[in-house]
Amino acid sequence: MLLQRFLIRLLTMAITLFGVAVVVFVVIRVAPGDPIAMMLPPGATDADIARLRALYGLDKTIVQQFFIWLSGVIRGDFGTSISLRQDVLGLVFNRLPATLELAITALLMAVAIGGTAAILGARERGTAVEAGIDIASGTALSIPDFLWGLVLILLFGVLIPVFDISGRVSPQLDLPFVTQFYLFESILRLRFDLTWDLLKHMLMPAVALALPLAAIIAQLLKQSLKEVLDLDYVVLARVKGFSETQVILREALKNAALPTLTLVGVQFTFLIGGTVIVERLFSYEGLGNMAIDAVINRDLPLIQGIVLVFALLFVLINLTVDMMYALLNPRLRHG
């Protein structure tokens, strides 16, 4: 039963990814802009252009190109970047950890900030505290992540320069890392000096990405908590002698979290989408920043590789959310 459900999910994932591959492949070839024209210096002959075109396989029909690319992808060969002249898979995996660390840090921040605000707002429902939380989350939500990025750069990069506004890590530092998960590895190696330097670079983009999501969590979770707090089993817990905070944490939170969890799953994919611009803003060396370069350079294989990896991430996030949902809801587990 469980295995069957898992296999169905796996098949759905494969179909989704294939769909994404087709769409991105077609769209970037239909869109104007010629990578070959951008690679050659002005005055190149038609023969030069044709030769280069043939070298990258761009002289074949779009259908042929697609299946050549797809058979490569299945074998783990995503082709060669036109602008960087390196293996696409290597490039992507080199940059992906930076983006994952940024996105996950932002997600944790959003859950921590939004969750705390929701619990506080639910506990102090009907008071000025709740009103303050509503106003703050309304503000956080109505400003998009890249604008938050600019605000933060002005505040904490320029006016009160406590954080670094550019890059992932100070360039003069000697990095002992063997993986690209710098933050994670610096903690494991107990090199907290490096952790701090990484955080000083990461905090502002992470906060920029986290604030809108934190606001969504605060509003939705607070609403769900308030609904649950009127239910009979919560009243019974109060009669047992539990404080309002205990009641919220022990009785209400888990049941109220389900709708929020679903939404956070969807919103997390938006957050990852947001890394593209925010990474650019902070010159953070992640996948999103590379995606913008790839698009500017019409680097077709690299765009395809990056988009496919993003799509894979989204699909995996959805799978994780579904599994967590089942874990939190005992009625689903037995169903």
Binding site: R125, G126, D230, L231, D232, Y233, V235, L236, A237, R238, V239, K240, G241, F242, S243, Q246, R250, E251, K254, N255, L328, N329, P330, R331, H334
Partner: protein, 293 residues
């Protein structure tokens, strides 16, 4: 004379718009006694139970009166002290067993959490106690029940679980809020018998909220009849049925269906009685001035 288990004196509560929902209610529950609180829906009987347990909805405010739990004035205690006192000395048997258990927690921890976390018992002692109570409510497979989630048990089973949990900490007072209303008729009788039996064995005082005079006759020694937030009559249960004093009480008794002749006895409360009640309430309202202007 020993203090009453619960002594409510002159309790009034209002809604945000100033409308009085409890009108100078006074009633006492002596130790080990079952007092029924009977009235139509909306009469405020559940509200009294909630006021005692400190779980009134935020829209209802107590404006005057006292509630003494074993001589301790609940209104004078700090919130934390009041909460702990209520948790230690009272319990609630709720109306609807389907919604009164947390759907995402197993039965076991839901039954023991008060014993362990409020009363400070060891987990072992709490577990042994709960099993003993489950036996008393005639649950024969405690292991399975304690491991279950609420949705895996029937309504009757859940109400047994809630009754067992209510008696587990040996509270002095239990508020039973229409504990049989949400159940099937066949299960109602068993549950009622079970509550009566446990009440006798444990000597617990119960404030038994119900709209059902049949239930009142079976379980209580004393009755307060409530109409529109006002106690219109109180008496020993036997005396009330033998010689009801108030016209409304007489009408209520007359309106109770009898199994022998269900249709003949089903008559609504007389218009004249209701008019009399309305006048009585209006007079009380005229005389009443909310404290502090």
């Amino acid at each position: 004379m020993s203090a009453a288990c619960l002594d409510i004196r002159n309790l009034s509560a209002v809604l945000a718009n100033g409308q009085r929902v409890l009108r100078s209610v006074s009633l006492a529950v002596q130790p080990g006694e079952v007092r029924a609180l009977v009235g139509e829906s909306g009469a405020g009987k559940t509200m009294i139970g909630k006021a005692v347990l400190g779980v009134l909805p935020s829209s209802v405010h107590i404006v005057e009166g006292e509630m003494l739990l074993e001589g301790e004035d609940l209104g004078r205690l700090q919130p934390k002290a009041r909460r702990t006192l209520i948790g230690a000395r009272t319990a609630l048997i709720p109306q609807d067993p389907l919604t009164a258990l947390n759907p995402s927690r197993r039965i076991g921890p839901q039954m023991t959490d008060r014993l362990v976390r409020i009363l400070g018992w060891s987990g072992q002692r709490a577990d042994a106690r709960i099993r003993q109570l489950l036996d008393e409510v005639q649950i024969r497979d405690p292991d399975r029940v304690l491991r279950s989630y609420p949705h895996e048990l029937s309504g009757g089973m859940r109400q047994r679980v809630l009754i067992a949990a209510a008696f587990a900490a040996e509270p002095r007072l239990i508020v039973a809020d229409e504990p049989t209303t949400a159940l099937d008729v066949t299960v109602q009788k068993q549950i009622l018998r079970l509550i009566a039996q446990l009440q006798r064995e444990h000597g617990t005082a119960i404030l038994f909220v119900t709209h059902d005079l049949g239930v009142v006759a079976k379980i209580s020694q004393k009755v307060s009849v409530l109409y529109a937030g006002k106690v219109v009559e109180e008496a020993d249960t036997a005396a009330l049925f033998a010689a009801p004093q108030h016209a409304y009480t007489r009408a209520l008794i007359a309106a109770t269906p009898r199994y022998t002749d269900p249709l003949a006895s089903l008559k609504p409360v007389d218009e004249a009685v209701l008019a009399g009640l309305a006048a009585e309430i209006a007079a009380a309202e005229q005389a009443w001035r909310p404290p502090h202007g």
